[in-house]
């Protein structure tokens, strides 16, 4: 009896979590990507570069302001599980690659939206940083898997 319970706990619960992660994670990812595509389309007029000079010249009232944004996107149980499997044989962790990509796009979109709201139409000298929020769940030797991106740039109006 005891052995059966142990089996349920050791295999059953992770199996359920993998399934929950697969469905919930996939829905969350699809919705997020759809949202990103929509917001990126609305920002098409913004000039976004990582040049240190101000491409297009500085017009308007000549103002320039630092804009910064953050995005922290969580992995789901399925992605983490697959990553664990792949790391046994090695190779590309596609499930986590898309996660990083989503976080970077989200941070970029937020930065551009912030610039647009402040009346600018261009951002130059864009930089990306990753942030390590430490392993919050380290108590059980289980780190939270997440993509943490910080984007910054200088917003201005082109001439």
């Amino acid at each position: 009896m005891n052995g059966q319970f142990d089996l349920i706990f050791q295999i059953g619960i992770p199996a359920v979590l993998v399934l929950v992660g697969l469905f919930a994670g996939r829905i969350a990812e699809r919705r997020h990507l759809a949202r990103l595509t929509r917001r990126e389309a609305a920002l098409r007029g913004m000039l976004c570069t990582n040049l240190r000079s101000y491409p297009g010249g500085v017009g308007g009232d000549g103002r320039a302001e630092l804009v910064t944004s953050h995005a922290v996107i969580s992995s789901d149980y399925f992605k983490t599980f697959i990553a664990g499997l792949v790391s046994i044989i090695g190779g590309e962790l596609r499930s986590l690659q898309t996660l990083m990509d989503r976080a970077r796009r989200e941070a970029t979109v937020r930065m551009l939206e912030d610039a647009q709201q402040r009346g600018f139409n261009a951002v130059c000298n864009v930089r990306y940083d990753t942030v390590d929020i430490g392993a919050a769940e380290q108590r059980r030797n289980k780190a939270i898997v997440m993509a943490t991106i910080m984007a910054s740039g200088t917003a201005y109006r082109t001439a």
Partner: protein, 108 residues
């Protein structure tokens, strides 16, 4: 105060360079947020608590940097950069630094 991450301020000449100004902070969210993040790690999605943590940390580091710049009598801080490091579980250090400058009157 003008704050940019480029080397100069558009349309303005730098009259004098006052030196490096910096600000940092180590912040963490309460235990409940870490727990919520652990749960969110099963289903995926944004960890809003941690996004908030970073926004707060950046504001605070920035404020400290600007306070230093103000003390030096700067008009602008140019070439601003951020770096971060992990200190302990659920916490992030955010460090903002830049060069405080005095701008010349009039155009370039």
């Amino acid at each position: 105060m003008i704050v940019v991450n480029t080397e100069g301020v558009p349309g303005r000449r730098i009259a004098s360079v006052l030196g490096l100004v910096q600000g940092n902070t180590v912040r963490t969210k309460h235990f409940g947020r870490d727990l919520a993040a652990g749960l969110k790690n099963i289903v995926g999605g944004e960890l809003k608590g941690y996004t908030e943590l970073l926004t707060e940390a950046r504001r605070q580091a920035m404020e400290r940097m600007l306070a230093q710049a103000q003390q030096l009598g700067a008009d602008a801080v140019v070439n601003v950069r951020y770096t971060t490091s992990a200190v302990t579980g659920g916490a992030a250090e955010l460090y903002a630094y830049g060069t405080a400058v005095k701008l010349a009157e009039g155009g370039e």
